[in-house]
């Protein structure tokens, strides 16, 4: 609600408009209250439809996690202890990794459920079946969940058109717990890709495949760019190998999905290698890389620094009178 500060400044500056501003402020305040009431009732209806949990306790948990997520986990285990007992019918956890027989353990699922309820359930619901604000996550598979959580895009800080990348709220084992819990709710989806083949992959094939499949949105230097109507292709300079592979396989947000029919596992490794070793470590042999956005930055430098310095030189040589 930081915009209210501007309203106060507005009032301060325009004493004559004080009454009008107060009325505006009040109406906005009421609107915000109404919005909160609306979201609270939404959360309540979701939880009621899914489990027999008390709606008030959920909103309390989700509110407390925003301030002290890590510390509250031990206490909330007790408070939601009963539903985990229901889930104990899953004797063996879901598969998480591609080409591996490692399964999620029951303790991972239990821990994940706690984290999920604290951080995700206010939108996605306790059983991850979605709400009017958020999609159903059941059956999406480990790769999707891991991508959204490790890139920090989930939990969402601000419901805009496309979530932005930010530091992840969880460490890798907490993330896997959440992945295990959501994957335990239903079968299907894509497993976390195996990155063992990246070292032996071909970077030049990766460059060619990247130009063909990825550069159309992410640009050839991987700097990212704006797409239509507020959507954008993000920069690839911070993506980890696993995240690149997960994004290709699962197609997050506006990105298309490339399955193994489009891009084979070997080619996937080539692209991952090119992104993490070519694009993220560009060969800027010519000097200052100018952000990798090409002629726009070059034009500004050429005109401001190049022509600018030479105009200053002419001021130095010539007379100013």
């Amino acid at each position: 609600m930081d915009w209210t500060i501007f309203l106060f400044i507005f009032i301060k500056l325009n004493n004559l408009k004080f009454i009008f501003s107060t009325a505006l402020l009040l109406s906005l305040f009421i609107a915000v209250l109404a919005g909160f009431a609306d979201s609270a009732s939404n959360a309540a209806s979701n939880s009621q439809s899914s489990t027999s949990q008390m709606p008030t306790s959920i909103s309390h948990v989700s509110a407390s996690t925003t301030t002290s997520m890590a510390t509250s986990s031990t206490t909330s285990v007790k408070s939601v202890g009963t539903p985990t007992a229901k889930q104990s019918s899953v004797s063996v956890g879901p598969l998480l990794y591609q080409g591996s027989s490692v399964r999620a353990t029951q303790s991972q699922i239990n821990q994940g459920k706690v984290l999920f309820i604290e951080n995700c359930s206010s939108c996605h619901g306790i059983d991850a079946s979605g709400s009017v604000r958020a999609p159903n996550l059941v059956g999406l598979g480990p790769a999707t969940i891991q991508f959204w959580v490790t890139t920090g895009r989930m939990p969402l800080s601000n419901p805009i058109i496309q979530p932005i990348r930010k530091p992840s709220r969880f460490n890798s084992s907490q993330t896997l717990d959440i992945v295990a819990y959501v994957s335990s709710l239903g079968p299907g989806g894509i497993l976390i890709p195996n990155m063992n083949g990246v070292n032996s992959a071909s970077i030049s094939d990766g460059a060619s495949l990247f130009a063909l499949n990825c550069a159309g949105c992410h640009t050839i230097t991987g700097a990212g760019d704006a797409l239509a109507s507020g959507a954008y292709a993000p920069s690839l300079h911070q993506a980890t190998p696993t995240q690149v592979a997960e994004a290709i396989r699962t197609g997050p947000a506006n990105m298309p999905r490339f399955n193994s029919g489009n891009i084979s596992d070997a080619h996937l490794n080539d692209i991952v290698k090119y992104v993490t070793q070519g694009i993220q470590r560009p060969n800027n042999a010519g000097g200052w890389g100018l952000g990798g956005v090409g002629p726009v930055a070059e034009g500004f430098i050429g005109l401001l620094i190049g022509v600018g310095l030479l105009v200053l030189a002419s001021l130095w040589i010539g007379e100013r009178d």
Binding site: A207, A223, L303, G318
Partner: protein, 527 residues
């Protein structure tokens, strides 16, 4: 040192049988040798006696001239190593991420220049920065000529030559940008093919003829562009630069009005001794700035882009800045389908053929257009201050704002990404702002010019208070307060003897009792 005449030299030459000539005599001998054969003394005298005004703004054209020199030198170096061929081969060079991929000979040789030729990357980057700065300097120089009215009679022809140089510079810059056959320039070439194709009636024939068939043609476009880029257009540019400078010497420089400056003289520094050293210094500074940019700031890293294939495309593709306004016009053009004579005229014809055609034609005919509008057909060697021609200045800044908006419109996607706003919003902003901003800029400029003019006339003469005093009889008298401190010198210069050095109204009122008698009598006679 005394001046040497030919007679003195001849006298001196005879007794010097041991052939020991002073350096001056040797130089004079050499000069005479040339003069006897070519008659160079007369032209040389004109050249060495040529007077250059000292004002800094007269040096802007030289930035363009010297970057052109750098372009020629670096271009010759690059032509030693560049292979203008579309023949595909397998790359096995120094840049490992492309090892084993199919590349054209042109792209391969540009990579070799960048990674394997000693000084290759520096020279290539200097050449590219040089092109950006060459056209930037032309634009800045053109602004100086325009806003000071230096294009007026008798210099209309030189203005047209200058505009032609600008057009040729843009064309040659685009051709050079397209030569390395990388992913980004290939996309630009694809756009150019479509632009040529959009010309009604002849478009398809023209595009197919230039490219040797439908896009991407049969591999002839790179050799053809190379021939134009390194031979035909530079030769025309060099010839026109010569004509530009010849006319400059022949017509003599313009100058700003000032003490001792008239329509019939030029005040400044002669070529020798004086300006020669300044301009040489400027050449070195231009080379220095280009070397600095070429060595430190990376431009067009084609190895990051890869070989161009028509089926591959990168987003965020922009041309070099001097083509940016055309790209911007293309971007903001609404998707209208306009038909004439039963045929649809391709949409891109309007922003990328018709618009620059009209723009350049207005540039070319501007001196005549202005002469017709102002009915001023006199010879002008003294320049205008921009504020004294508010209408021209307003038109100029409006046009500049228009081209700047188009230039920024060429980076809609990059702006949207950096400002985290919708691309559509940015596009619509430019669709409107491109027309609104120039009008606002022109109006504001006009107003500022008028204000500056007034400031010039009333310099040092700030407004004075009108003090209304009520006399003892009940009569009201208006009295002007004394001039304010600092304005005194000006007032006395203008023959106005200032009143007392009091600038406080209260003080004036306190003293008013003495002056009322006089003032009220005066006011009675006037009213």
């Amino acid at each position: 040192m005394e001046k040497l005449t030919t007679k003195d030299l001849l006298k001196n030459l005879k007794p010097n049988k041991d052939n020991k000539l002073s350096p001056q005599e040797r130089a004079a001998n050499a000069g005479r040798w040339i003069d006897e054969r070519l008659g160079a003394a007369k032209g040389g005298r004109t050249f060495f006696n040529k007077i250059f005004p000292d004002h800094w703004s007269f040096m802007l054209g030289e930035i363009a001239l010297y970057s052109f020199v750098v372009l020629l030198v670096t271009g010759v170096f690059l032509s030693l190593y560049f292979d203008p061929s579309s023949t595909m081969l397998t790359y096995h060079g120094s840049y490992k991420p492309l090892d084993g991929t199919q590349v054209s000979a042109a792209y391969n040789s540009t990579l070799a220049i960048s990674f394997n030729v000693r000084f290759g990357l520096l020279v290539r980057q200097m050449h590219h920065w040089g092109a950006d700065i060459f056209l930037g300097a032309i634009a800045v120089h053109m602004c100086r000529i325009f806003f000071t009215g230096a294009f007026r009679k008798p210099r209309e022809i030189n203005w047209i030559v200058g505009v032609t140089l600008l057009i040729l510079g843009i064309v040659n810059g685009f051709l050079g940008y397209s030569l390395p056959d990388d992913l980004i320039s290939g996309t630009g070439l694809r756009i150019m093919f479509s632009v040529l194709e959009s010309i009604p009636v002849v478009g398809t024939h023209l595009a197919f003829w230039l490219f040797g068939g439908n896009y991407p043609g049969n591999g002839v476009i790179i050799p053809r562009m190379y021939m134009l880029h390194i031979l035909v257009i530079p030769a025309i540019i060099a010839g026109l630069v010569g004509a530009h400078l010849f006319m400059l010497v022949r017509q003599k420089h313009t100058q700003f009005p000032g003490k001792g400056r008239t329509e019939h003289n030029v005040v400044g520094t002669p070529m020798w001794p004086g300006f020669m050293f300044k301009t040489q210094g400027f050449l070195f500074l231009t080379v220095a700035v280009l070397a600095l940019l070429g060595g430190l700031a990376q431009i067009n890293p084609i190895w990051q882009y890869g070989q161009y294939f028509p089926y591959k495309v990168s987003y965020a593709v922009q041309p070099d800045w001097y083509m940016g306004w055309l790209d911007g016009a293309l971007r903001i053009m609404p998707s209208w389908e306009i038909s004439a004579f039963g045929y649809m005229i391709p949409n891109q014809f309007f922003p990328s053929i018709l618009f620059p055609g009209i723009a350049f034609n207005i540039f070319i005919i501007w001196p005549f257009l202005e002469a017709r509008m102002t009915k001023d057909r006199d010879i002008h060697n003294l320049l205008d201050r921009p504020r004294d021609r508010p209408k021209r200045t307003a038109v100029g800044t409006g046009a500049l704002a228009f081209f700047f908006m188009l230039f920024f419109a060429s980076s809609t996607d990059v702006l949207a990404n950096y400002l985290s706003v919708s691309l559509n919003l940015v596009l619509w902003f430019f669709r409107i702002a491109t027309y609104v901003v120039p009008i606002v800029v022109a109006l504001v400029t006009y107003k500022i010019c008028i204000e500056l003019q007034l400031a010039g006339k009333n310099a040092g003469r700030r407004k004075r208070f009108n003090v209304v005093i009520r006399t003892e009889e009940g009569e009201y008298v208006a009295q002007k307060s004394p001039a304010r401190e600092g304005d005194m010198d000006v007032l006395s210069e203008h023959g106005e003897i200032p009143l007392e050095l009091n600038d406080r109204v209260s003080h004036v009122i306190r003293q008013s009792a003495d002056s009322i008698g006089v003032e009220s009598k005066k006011s009675k006679t006037t009213t």
